[in-house]
Symmetry: C2
Subunit: 249 residues, 2 copies
């Protein structure tokens, strides 16, 4: 049920049986939600956070002219608005892009975890820090990459994140996003995303068709996108990669 979340937490650090129990018992409810349904509105007091079990969810910010900027895509195992536990109100919307299954975790339960399970608290804090790292990487992409690089970068990220939770099959994966979704996330128009994907296909890098993506050459795609997965914090920290330890500031 919350196995994909546990998978993600354990890929960072060990979880005790008691911590696992605390997490499991924090789920108050399961819900199915239709596609294109808003699940969190901005500026409203929240009393629970949402854990995504199945489907794709996005966070987005509205603009006065009616357009939107998607700031993050969430995949199964993501604690979609864990940050609402400390923020209490969000500055953005959260909405499903496909039919979804979610678990509801009341803030009271998270409060209890912070009171009694400091190690688990640090792990959850870590999860929100990784979210922030993702936002930074998107800032990099939006601020300094070409359209082709931005789109390629997104496919690299989503592929690895899907792989992490066991949702890929070789270099293929289900990915029920529209070209408009990609445009809204990458700061491009749907028309230009279409041209860009066509060009990536012609270069035999990816195929993206009817909610299904195939990566034909991950290495070249990664190179084109200048993609470095460090920011995803996959796997455990290893002892310092051989770089000289900086005199700790």
């Amino acid at each position: 049920m919350i196995e994909k979340l546990l998978l993600r937490l354990r890929s960072r650090d060990d979880l005790s049986a008691e911590e696992e129990r605390a997490l499991r018992s924090a789920v108050s409810e399961l819900r199915r939600v239709a596609a294109d349904t808003s699940i969190v509105q901005p500026h409203i007091d929240l009393s629970a956070s949402i854990l995504l079990l199945k489907g794709i969810v996005c966070r987005f910010k509205d603009r006065p002219d009616g357009t939107r900027q998607i700031t993050h895509f969430h995949l199964p195992g993501d604690f979609v608005d864990l940050h609402s536990f400390t923020l209490k109100r969000l500055d953005h919307h959260v909405m499903t892009l496909t039919p979804c299954e979610v678990a509801v975790v009341p803030h009271d339960c998270l409060h209890g975890i912070t009171e009694n399970y400091p190690h688990l608290t640090r792990l959850l804090w870590f999860m929100t820090a990784v979210d922030a790292a993702s936002h930074r990487e998107w800032e990099l992409s939006l601020g300094s990459q070409s359209a082709k690089q931005r789109v390629a970068h997104l496919f690299c990220e989503l592929f690895l994140r899907l792989q992490r939770v066991g949702l890929t099959d070789g270099f293929e994966c289900p990915l029920a996003l529209s070209q408009t979704d990609i445009a809204d996330a990458r700061g491009l128009t749907a028309v230009h995303v279409n041209r860009t994907i066509k060009s990536l296909r012609e270069e035999r890098l990816i195929t993206f068709h009817r909610g299904h993506a195939t990566i034909h050459d991950f290495e070249r795609l990664q190179e084109l996108a200048e993609f470095d997965p460090t920011y995803l914090y996959l796997g455990r920290e290893q002892p310092n990669r051989g770089r000289p330890q900086l005199k700790a500031l």
Copy 2:
């Protein structure tokens, strides 16, 4: 010394005397750092976080072609790399843009806080969540605003954040950024930032000259930038702003 940080934390929630003591004693060292000096490198194990007392610091990510994307500016009172406590290694650089004073807070002390002060832990977690909110807002700006809006937006943000820690004088504030810094943060070229600032000056919105900014018409600037300060989480939460309470998911 760490008064500006306390000011920021207290503007969110009360701090007990004991919590204040815990924070004060977490500072192991004070440092002066020259301008344009790297204080945190990516991919390296970190054992302390940096609190900014004076000056301006930026976070940035490198690109293979040597350009950089600034993802955040830090002002006095900011806990610059508090997120390194949970991440252990960063995916980006941190560097001073002006001469700075910083306080060093060992991760061991932060660990102690998470073990013994859950309320203070939640407040610190909140601070990193606000950082993430800022990243989201920058994604919005980078992804969907015109050059003029992006620059105006940055001035709105920095002005309010400086005001919060008492560093403004009416609508004037010291702001020792170069146009190149602004360009690297806003995904523009320095040449275009220059033209943009000229245009903002001609419209009598702002003057920016020799490290000093003056906002001539904050309201119109805000309107132009589509700037909504919600994401800065200034001040305490108030009971729900009169909007209808959503049936809690």
